[in-house]
Symmetry: C2
Subunit: 173 residues, 2 copies
């Protein structure tokens, strides 16, 4: 994965794109300020065993139970962000676990509701062509660009959630 | 003070201004991504007794010892943000206290260096004419607009710092 400056060297980014990528606070808070009320559409949510990559990122044993959630953040029927998250069950407090597993609420909203203190550690950036999958999700051409970042939300000095966010270059142009 | 939507009703705001105002992460992280390396110029720093307003915002007794710091966040000799903060001495851990009282580092940098987990609670927004003071600080006309917000950084479920940030409308146009 790339750093933000590497990404900036390879791709012309607008101030809004740069701020979404560099943001260390709630993504939903920024999206709602820009686009109005944001709701979550849960694409899938299930408990899986951590593979090599997930266990390294979350610093948990290989095979540990992890909640895997894929959502779309939507404002006025427009998909703004596609987000995939992995959260080790052993680190989720009861109310938080219930919200993330059963309710369509953005992570930032869950954190706020439970007054959870944290910090965010951005692990890296990437850009790629939308391809068929993201073209459909974002209603964008298949050869358009999507931006991607991966970060950990740290709580009690351990990764609580690893999140990959994808959004279309066009959305924040 | 106003909410962000009230501010948006009264003033035409650009996406960049909206994002800076709505941001619940590190302000320095956003500014550095936009403008390059940011350094702090400390205007003043001293211990004061909490007045009525400060004691209410920080939920501390009237007269309690508070570190009062006024800084400018500067990138390439341009003042981006003028920030005033109040932090109760009783809630500052040793290393944090030393950094905030003796070193020219942005709050976001101090939090990161000490791996401090927190959440930010935005208390309100305001806009005003620059006037002589801010006109000089931001090299802007005295009748230009400056944007202002006030928020608490919460740590261990208590306000750790109350911050007022001011920046010129022009900076993020």
């Amino acid at each position: 994965m790339k750093t933000l400056s590497e990404l900036k060297d390879e791709l012309e980014l607008t101030p809004v794109q740069i701020m979404l990528l560099a943001n260390t606070g709630s993504m939903t808070a920024l999206l709602e300020a820009l686009f109005g009320s944001v709701h979550v559409e849960t694409v899938s949510q299930r408990v899986v065993k951590a593979d090599q990559n997930t266990s390294e990122k979350l610093q948990i044993p290989l095979g540990a139970a992890v909640n895997h959630r894929v959502v779309r953040l939507v404002a006025e029927e427009r998909v703004l962000v596609y987000a995939e998250s992995f959260a080790p069950l052993s680190r989720l407090e009861e109310g938080f676990k219930e919200d993330i597993m059963k309710r369509d609420i953005p992570i930032g909203g869950i954190m706020e509701e439970h007054c959870i203190e944290s910090r965010r550690e951005i692990l890296g950036y990437e850009f790629l062509r939308a391809g068929d999958e993201f073209a459909e999700i974002f209603s964008a051409p298949a050869d358009s660009i999507v931006l991607k970042r991966n970060y950990n939300i740290i709580h009690n000095q351990q990764p609580l959630i690893n999140i990959t966010e994808v959004f279309s270059y066009e959305m924040a142009k």
